[in-house]
């Protein structure tokens, strides 16, 4: 097919107008998120950074999360693990997380063993196995990079709980639907940080917006040794750990 220059320009013009309209439609969702107006999902891509060298295992994050999100007792959207690695035996670290670390950790003085704390939470994967396994479209990656559960739609089959390689999901004991970290979506869409970051006394955890060029996360990722959990699974995990030991699973 031969196109004259005039036809080509007209077609390009139509395409731009139509795709602009499509973008407009994409940008104005119906309810609360947009009604608060200033928050535009397309402007954000949420993540979190965790500095292992700053975590003191106080459990403030676990408590704050439980209060903020009404997490049922015995279940955790975030938790803290204490690792102890004896010498060269990196394949068999001693890991403990008494009640998720919600009451902190019993003090221990083991100077001859390498030990450190690892806070964990949903990695809000960009290519999440949990989203792929949901048969009804109840769990999804939001346009701003948060993995969420539509609890009206969830049938409680538990496939996502099994699919998550990080153990970040559970079935709610009374609602009987999947439940997990929302990255405090109700806070970050209002310009606040997450409850765990708000309560962290040392700043070990920081909410990060990868689409904000002024966010310190870019410096953090550039100058530090960064690791995600289970990188071999190619989940696109967005919780970035600084100085994470190789023994961490």
């Amino acid at each position: 097919m031969e196109l004259s220059r005039r036809e080509l320009l007209a077609a390009a013009g139509k395409f731009m107008v139509l795709s602009g309209a499509a973008l407009e439609a994409f940008e104005s969702p119906s309810g609360a998120v947009a009604a608060d107006s200033k928050y535009r999902m397309a402007d954000h891509w949420w993540a979190m950074t965790i500095d292992i060298q700053k975590c003191i295992g106080c459990g403030n994050c676990v408590r704050a999360c439980a209060i903020e999100n009404d997490v049922p007792e015995g279940f955790f959207r975030t938790w803290v693990e204490r690792y102890e690695v004896d010498g060269e035996d990196m394949e068999h670290p001693q890991v403990e997380s008494p009640e998720g670390g919600i009451h902190g950790f019993p003090a221990r003085n083991t100077p001859r063993v390498k030990s450190f704390f690892v806070p964990k939470l949903c990695n809000h994967c960009a290519h999440s196995p949990c989203v792929q396994s949901c048969p009804v479209g109840a769990t999804y990656l939001s346009p701003d990079g948060v993995v969420l559960v539509d609890q009206q739609y969830c049938v409680g089959c538990g496939y996502c709980v099994q699919a998550c390689p990080y153990g970040c999901r559970y079935l709610h004991p009374t609602k009987h639907v999947a439940d997990k970290c929302t990255l405090c979506y109700h806070r970050i869409t209002k310009g606040l940080t997450t409850a765990c970051c708000e309560a962290c006394p040392t700043g070990a955890r920081q909410l990060a917006d990868l689409k904000n060029p002024g966010d310190p996360v870019h410096e953090f990722l550039r100058v530090n040794a960064i690791q995600v959990l289970k990188p071999q699974m190619a989940t696109g995990a967005k919780v970035f750990y600084k100085d994470l030991d190789g023994s961490v699973r």
Partner: protein, 157 residues
């Protein structure tokens, strides 16, 4: 009703017409049920119901955030900014005070007990970073509460 030509075409194929009618009804019934069951705007951003984004975002925060605290207690924030606790959020020690931030009379903050609060972070543990200030509280102070000697907002003595 049919012209003679059309009648000739449909002659002997009434069973096919009946079948076609049933097929059309089935398709219409499918579309009607689908319309009733699939929520409006499903699939707008992906394979999910976009209304759930709004529902999740609509919840009220329980922790007010440190900016809310500073809007009234700027004197404390200024004093704290000179000490090592400058970057510790108010609610990290004082607990969630979202209601207090909305209406200060509706929720009265409870003064934390320094005998129990400070050791949550500062009790010595081998897993804590070596640069983090930590003490074995029993040896350091016995039964004396930390607040007797230290000001939590400016803890250096």
């Amino acid at each position: 009703m049919f012209t003679s030509g059309m009648r000739r075409i449909f002659e002997g194929s009434e069973h096919l017409i009946r079948l076609a009618c049933v097929a059309v009804l089935v398709v219409l019934a499918f579309l009607a049920i689908r319309h009733a069951l699939v929520p409006p705007e499903f699939g707008k951003y992906g394979y999910f119901r976009p209304g759930s984004l709004d529902e999740i975002a609509a919840r009220t925060p329980v922790f007010a955030g440190r900016q809310a605290c500073a809007s009234c207690h700027d004197d404390i924030v200024a004093a704290k900014s000179k000490g090592p606790h400058a970057n510790v959020g108010c609610e990290a020690c004082h607990g969630p005070l979202g209601l207090h931030a909305q209406d200060f009379a509706s929720q009265k903050p409870v003064l934390p007990n320094t005998a129990k609060l400070c050791v949550v972070c500062h009790e010595a543990d081998a897993a804590k970073p070596k640069t983090f200030p930590q003490v074995v509280s029993r040896e350091h102070a016995g039964d004396t509460a930390c607040g007797v000697c230290h000001n939590p907002h400016q803890p250096r003595m």
